[in-house]
Each structure stands twice: as structure tokens, then as C-alpha cells.
Symmetry: C2
Subunit: 386 residues, 2 copies
Amino acid sequence: MDTRTGLPVVGMVGGGQLARMTHHAAIALGQSLRVLAATETDGAALVAADTVVGSHTDLDALLGFARGCDVVTFDHEHVPTEHIRELVKAGAVVRPGADALVHAQDKRAMRERLAASGIPVPRWAPVRSPDDLTAFAEAEAGPGAGWPLVVKAVRGGYDGRGVWIVTGPDEVPAGLDLIVEECVPLRRELAAVVARSPFGQVAVYPVVETVQRDGICVEVLAPAPGLSDERAVLAQDLAIRIATELDVIGLLAVELFDTGTGLIVNELAMRPHNSAHWTIEGARTSQFEQHLRAVLDYPMGDTSLTAPVVVMANVLGWEPDGRDMSLDERLHHMFASEPAVKVHLYGKQVRPGRKIGHVTALGDDLEKVRASAARAARWLSEGGEP
Amino acid sequence: MDTRTGLPVVGMVGGGQLARMTHHAAIALGQSLRVLAATETDGAALVAADTVVGSHTDLDALLGFARGCDVVTFDHEHVPTEHIRELVKAGAVVRPGADALVHAQDKRAMRERLAASGIPVPRWAPVRSPDDLTAFAEAEAGPGAGWPLVVKAVRGGYDGRGVWIVTGPDEVPAGLDLIVEECVPLRRELAAVVARSPFGQVAVYPVVETVQRDGICVEVLAPAPGLSDERAVLAQDLAIRIATELDVIGLLAVELFDTGTGLIVNELAMRPHNSAHWTIEGARTSQFEQHLRAVLDYPMGDTSLTAPVVVMANVLGWEPDGRDMSLDERLHHMFASEPAVKVHLYGKQVRPGRKIGHVTALGDDLEKVRASAARAARWLSEGGEP
């Protein structure tokens, strides 16, 4: 309890953009997010008054951080499961808990659990040697059978890292704990995001389409264009079912493959997620506020859209192009071009291809809104009209 | 320039809720507001990483604070004019400048300047002695003539403080620099808020109705119900004209009396203003982002409404009622009652009648939206259904 405000203290492990935007939401709720940041220049550390610098793999740092927090939650999946259990033993309230979070940390555990619950997942197998891939490729016929295959690191992947598409057993990365999956023939990718509170209340957002480039989400369309009500409800039901069966507290993002004839679960995340950044302006309650409400066991907020169409585009760091145009200059041009587009910058050093921010456009006409978001993102990144 | 982000640094003098909400907007723009707070428990100091504790009347504190800021702006009007001039002499960029800001600090200077520019203001006079009031009361006939009269402190008033309605010369407060004004027979109060950049670009918000109780704004209705387009444009034109003539940089809020037959300027504020808190969710660009864009000379953002009707209600600290219900409990009840209402709490200690936050409701139907905002504010304040 923060005696200055009479409100509980939420601590978030990790100081990246998700913690930065969660702090943004915390301010409105009368709170100040407590952040455990790796460095004092992490995006959240630059803006949050109550920042502690320390490593999320250092148990003592975690224990010290958790003291004085009413609840501890996460900006990423990289806290060792055994450390989370130690935090709970020491009396900390950790949401989501270790038994839930492991399914967002360990892809093998996730696949095993979802498959056992009868939730549609790609055909998959654990990998102990390259021979396992050959056996997997030759095991079945039909769509998605044979090479290429998808190989994934069991732990530690994000933004396309830790995922490889391989066309033969020689391409398997060495020295890693891996699983193999069929290369699902998909029409597009969707995401269903739900929040769940300790009370058990769930609140699910409209299902969105996520557009990837090189394994990185570059654009999110809300609601997913042309998705039937029946398919949207199916996706939302899957998210609610997974959140409930795994006892997730806080946000759960379910990344889905839309095969044209059905939905298959790709990945899970148990934290605010790139596929729901659009909710800051595009939904009545942002995912960041919703995550805070869920971990605090407040009643959930309204997840309705605030406009018929919402498009988010990620802003990626640009390649050096000899023009030496600063981010500040790029912002000027973007604001002049797109006065209604909203920007969120993460306080990060610019590196080529790194997510340094995102933009959100709202309106009635998908193509216009999408073009507006793309122009804004391009002004901030490549620095010009598309 | 913040070398960590490549973006300019904005410093705000004053650490109250306006600085707190400006920091909230700054985070999205990639910034971190630098705050000069009176105490480390000021609402903005609780949430902003870059807070300096010092007095806004201490020139050395101001000079030290301004070093390293690309631009200095204000959360309130109480910085002495001569200190602002010293800041500029020392090389600081201060927006709005002293020559503009004095018209929001000194009611006599404001009345003189607006009257000289032919802008409609109440009939008024400076006060040197109680006899001046008697002379003023007896000077003219017609609506608003005679007693009661409105007496105002030239400097330092806010939220109804520094304003008295008097029915005779004996009621004049002693020892203060005062002006007297007719008690304007008004139908309602309106506000027109405009932002202006150093380039000279102006962006004006839809005109709103403000509802006062005991001199404190308790409710804002956007757009002002039943206001003709002609009258709305007149109010917006007045705001643009005043901003331009006074060379205001940043936000200007113009509080207006709607007499039923015309508009009369009541007060000016040159900072984010309670009458535009609704813009956080209710306009495409919030007043806080707009103020930052203006003082940074970025192009202005879109001021369109995000819903047909937006209602803001202030949350006032409650009288002790023996129930010992905490703010946290009140929040639970409010969220359960009004899942679509947005709350902004200011991190303040609760005192009876003190503004501790506000709520915003959006929708299509004024009476429903107004009732929703009123219920939410009541849950947070008195703690029950209206």
C-alpha cells in the first residue's frame, strides 16, 4: 500500500516499452508503477519515478524489489520459473503465477498442455536430435507435411528470434532445446487478447489481424477484416478457455493461425502484447489499464472499440541513409502529415529494425485508416511518404 | 536535448495534477517531463522520473531547473513575472512568455488589455477604497447594475478563491489588491480552449459548457449542449483572437459567460485547464499533448471529438462519514458500476472538497452519459449511488 495515495503498489519486472506504457496507464489509476529495470536508460526507467535497477535473473534483486509491492507482474517472460516460486514463498503476490506463466515461457510445456486440453495446435514434436526432424517430416502426409518445418527454441524467443524455418535436418541450430512443428498453411494471423482477474472475471477484446514481416509484427488491424462473427467468437472462446484452464491472472494474448477453414493456436503471451497496442486509443479500456485492473482484482473495463476501424503500425528503427534526420525532425513531418494519428515512442536508442514506437489511426474506412497509419510509421522510420 | 532519446526536454514549473497529466502525455511523445515540484509528494512528483523539488518563487531554483530544459512551461500562474524575465535573460526558452502570461496572472492587466482590444468583458473598475464600490454600484442602471457586485483579487485566485460576491461596501476584503465587476446575469458558463505554437498555428477545441458549484468546476459537457454553430464559432474566434493578440504559446483557456444574447469573457488561463480534461479520451488529441506540441513547436493535433457527447465530472474529496471506505474500495465499486467510464486520479491526499481526480464518460445520449459520469464521480467521492 502506498501510504501517500492509499492505493496498492504494482511492481513490474522488466523496464521495456510494455512497462513504460503500463506506467502510462497506472498514472490515470492514481498509481505509480514500480519498475525493476535492467538499466537506468530502459524505456520505463526514463519515465517512472519508482524505478529500481537490477537483473530479472538475480533472485536477491527480485526479492528486494517485491518487498513493498502489493502485487508483482511482468513486462516479459524471462524470469526463471524457480525464482517466481521463491518470490511466492517469501510472501509476494505474483500475477500471473508460475504455474500459468510457464506456458508462456516454455513452448514444449505450452504445446503439451494445450494438446492435452484438446485445443487446436500445429502438429509438433520435441527434438532430441536432427533425426527427430527427419522422422517428423516423413511421418505424415497432407497439407503441412514434409519439409519445410518450423523449429523453435523451447525458451527465450521473441520477435522472430528463436524460430527457424528449415528445409532439411542439417539446418537445425545446435546446442538448443528445441521443438519442431509443421509449417501450417495459413491465410493470415489473428490474435485474441483476454484479461482475467483473481475473482475469475474475464474481458476479451475484439479479435484482430496481425501482419508480420521477417517474424516481427508490423501492423495490426482491429477488428480483423472480414472475420465472421462465428469465427471471432470461436477465437475469443479459445482465449477465455485457455486463460481459465491455465489460471492466468492478467492479460493473455493468444496468437492464432487462420487457415481459412479453422483456427490453430500459435503462441501465448501473459502480459501486455504488441497485438493490443491499438487498444490505447482504439478500445474504451487499454490493455495496459486492463492488465493493472486484472492483477489488482478490480472489475474489468469495457473492451469496446472506440471507432469502426483501428490500425496500429509499429515504428522500426531506420537504416542509416546519409540524411542524418533526427527522430525529432521525423516527428515534425509526421505530425504535419497526419494530425489525427497518435504516436507512442518508447525512449529507445534507434537501431535498424528495432521497435522504437508505434502509431495508431482510427476511422471508418479500412483502406484510408491503414494508409494513414502506414504513412505515419514511414515518416517516423524511413522518413518520407510511402 | 535528451541525449538518451534524441528528443527535446520540456520542463514544467509546478507539480500538481496538470503536470501529472502532462507527464502522462509526454510519455507517449517519447519524452519524460521535467517537473519542478514544491514537495516530493506532489501528484506529478509521484509519477515523473525527472522531478526536482524547489519553490516556484525561488529564482535560483527556477534558474537551476531551467538549465538543461529546451523549453520551460507552467502548471499554474503563480511564478512571479520578474522571475520569468530573469529566466529569459539567462537564456531559457519560456512558453508562454511573461508578456502573455501576465494576462492570466493579473486580472486588472487582463481586463484592461481585453477591453482595449474591444473584446467583450463585464463592466469593471479597479478598487482603491470601499467608496469605489459604492460609486461603481451607483454608476449605471440596467441588468447587472447595482448590488450585488463581484470583487476579485487581482492576483493569486483559483477555484473560487479570491472571488467574492458582495452586497455592500462593508463586505470588501481588506488588505488586498482588488477589482470590482458587475454580477453578469448569465444563462450558463462556457469555455473555449485553443493551442497556439511559436509558428503561429492555432488549433481550437469544440466549445464546452462548464458547470460550477461553490466556485469550483464540477462538470464539463462537450460539446456545449444546444449551442448554435454561430455562437460556437464566435467563442472559438474570441479564443483565437485573444491567443494571437497576446502572443500566447501553448494552451489558452477562455472562460465565457453565455448571457443568452451574447458572450462575455470571464477568465483566462494559459496552461492545461480543468475545462478540457475531457479531451484525454474525448478528443483525438488531448489538451496535455497539445500543450506539449505547442511549446515544442510541433504541428498541432486534431481536436475532433471522439464521440458525439463527452462529459467530465470532477471527483472531490469527501467529508468524513464514519464508513472508513478507502479510495481503493471506492474504485472497486465505481469500476463495477461503470465499466466504460475512465478515471484519472491525481495522487493527492483526500481533503473535503479538494479535487482529487476526474472521470470521463462518452456516448451518444447526453442525459445517459451525464448520469454515468455523475454516478462514477459519486462512487469515488460520497461513495454510493446518487
